[in-house]
Amino acid sequence: MDRVLRLSSQKAVVIFSVSSCCMCHTVKRLFMELGVDAAVHELDQDPKGRDMERALAKMLDRTPTVPAVFIGGNLVGSTDKVMSLHLGGKLVPLLRDAGALWL
């Protein structure tokens, strides 16, 4: 849990992912399209990945736990949350506030 919290505030946008997860790929692509340089942590490539996944599961209260998106150190949610925010026009202001975008 500590590791998750520590990593999640290291950069404006942090994505916890699994390398084989295609939905994670979707979210990564979206942020890339928006011009955001997100920090991506692949849980399957991290020695403490399983613990982190457990921690995320507690925070998100859903499966699958990935992708898990943090903006400005705060947990935003998974794919549908990110999509909803974006369609509602709220994702970009959030990114700007977190310093992930300068436009």
């Binding site: 084989s20 295609c22 909803s84």
Partner: protein, 419 residues
């Protein structure tokens, strides 16, 4: 009696009418004016011929004189003639409620009418009887012929009903068999909504029902817009349409759990829709593009809102498309990884492992579909938020018209003449 004449005048339009009110009223009035009808029916029905009792003639004649309605009776008898010639011959089985008894009735009345006319105008001239007989006999023969034809039509119709009934029982049996084989089919046809519609067939039925209701709602919306309905009325109809959209997304989600490929491949849609499908449904950004033109005038803020919405959904769609591409590539790699010289035990284990992995990957398809539907749902809701009620109404109409044109195009294409 002016009303009598006018109602008789419109009687010739009997297409599709089982009960022609003018005919009925004519009958009623004639029954009143020729009061011996019932007596005559009892005595002459059996023979099929119409020997005329002089009693009836005098009674009719006296009635006619008392009413002073000679011109009307003439008119009436000619109406009977028309009925005999055109109506009886051309009526469809559906409209033919009269039996041969009715025809005989009419024949009698016809004769009575004729006799009443001749009786009233020149009751002492016997030479007219010959002409009367020929005319009447011809008319009677025509009526008999018409009666025979109507009997045959009735028989054919009843046979049709019987065969339909047989087919219905056969279909019910098939349905029962299918149910037993484990295909869940929603209960009786009059259920308002199918619960837990798993299986492709069940969803297709649910979708057809949903579409019917959707079309009905859109027609209601169109009527309200054209009638310049009040804000509140319009809003309630718009809300209804939007929540009905949510219903199909819900149904798709349930069906996807049972058969994701059926939903994703759009087998439940028309071929043209299926060809241009995006992740199991319409592409939000495309619809928004068409709306931007349809919805003028828009305020600056609204225009910006719609444009931003279009851009956001485009980006989200691209991201999801990329994700699907990644899934397909990953799946291909997994399946290719299990290829190799068959036979060795190591390869078999490898094969099993790879297939298991591939199965896992397929599991994410449902998630992609859900995200795509979520996108569509969000688009509709956001659009509604940005626009006024009236604009939302017009937007929903435009979307419906566009999609139904696509469906119609599909039908036209399939039915096009080919060399």
């Amino acid at each position: 009696m002016p009303s009598f004449a006018s109602s008789a005048g419109i009687q010739n339009n009997t297409e599709g009418n089982t009960t022609n009110p003018s005919r009925e009223s004519c009958f009623g009035l004639l029954k009143q004016s020729i009061a011996v009808h019932n007596d005559l029916e009892a005595t002459t029905k059996q023979s099929g011929q119409q020997p005329l009792a002089s009693v009836g003639v005098t009674a009719s004649a006296s009635k006619v004189e008392s009413l002073g309605q000679q011109p009307h009776l003439l008119f009436l008898s000619s109406q009977f003639e028309n009925w005999g010639d055109s109506t009886m011959a051309d009526a469809s089985p559906r409209t033919d409620t009269s039996t041969d008894l009715d025809i005989d009735e009419k024949n009698q009345m016809l004769e009575q009418g004729q006799l009443a006319v001749t009786g009233a105008s020149d009751s002492s001239d016997r030479s007219k009887d010959k002409r009367l007989d020929q005319k009447t006999l011809r008319r009677l023969a025509q009526n008999r012929e018409a009666a025979r034809k109507s009997r045959l039509r009735k028989k054919a119709y009843v046979q049709q009903l019987e065969s339909s009934r047989l087919k219905l029982t056969q279909l019910e049996q098939e349905l029962q068999r299918a149910r037993q084989q484990g295909i869940f089919i929603s209960g009786s046809a009059d259920q308002s909504h199918a619960v837990g519609g798993n299986g492709a067939l069940a969803f297709d039925v649910e979708y057809a029902r949903w579409l019917e209701e959707h079309n009905r709602q859109v027609n209601e919306l169109r009527a309200a817009v054209n009638a310049h309905a009040s804000e509140n009325d319009l809003r309630s109809i718009v809300d209804g349409v939007l929540s009905h959209y949510e219903e199909i997304f819900r149904l798709k989600g349930i069906a996807a759990k049972a058969d994701v490929f059926h939903i994703l491949s759009g087998m439940w849609k028309t071929p043209a829709e299926r060809c241009f499908l995006w992740l199991g449904g319409f592409r939000s950004s495309e619809l928004l593009k068409l709306l931007a033109n349809q919805l003028e005038p828009l305020t600056e803020q609204q225009l910006m809102g719609i444009c931003n919405l279009q851009q956001s959904s485009q980006q989200a769609e691209d991201a999801l498309s990329q994700g699907m591409e990644a899934l397909q590539q990953s799946l291909a790699e997994t399946l290719a990884g299990s290829l190799g010289p068959s036979g060795s035990s190591g390869n078999v284990a490898n094969y099993m492992g790879q297939m298991a992995m591939a199965m896992g990957k397929l599991g994410t398809l449902e998630n992609f579909l859900r995200q795509a539907d979520n996108l569509r749902q969000q688009t509709l809701q956001q659009m509604h938020r940005i626009l006024t009620t009236r604009q939302s109404a017009r937007a929903l109409l435009a979307i419906h018209d566009y999609l139904s044109r696509l469906r119609a195009l599909s039908s036209l294409w399939l039915a096009r003449p080919r060399e």
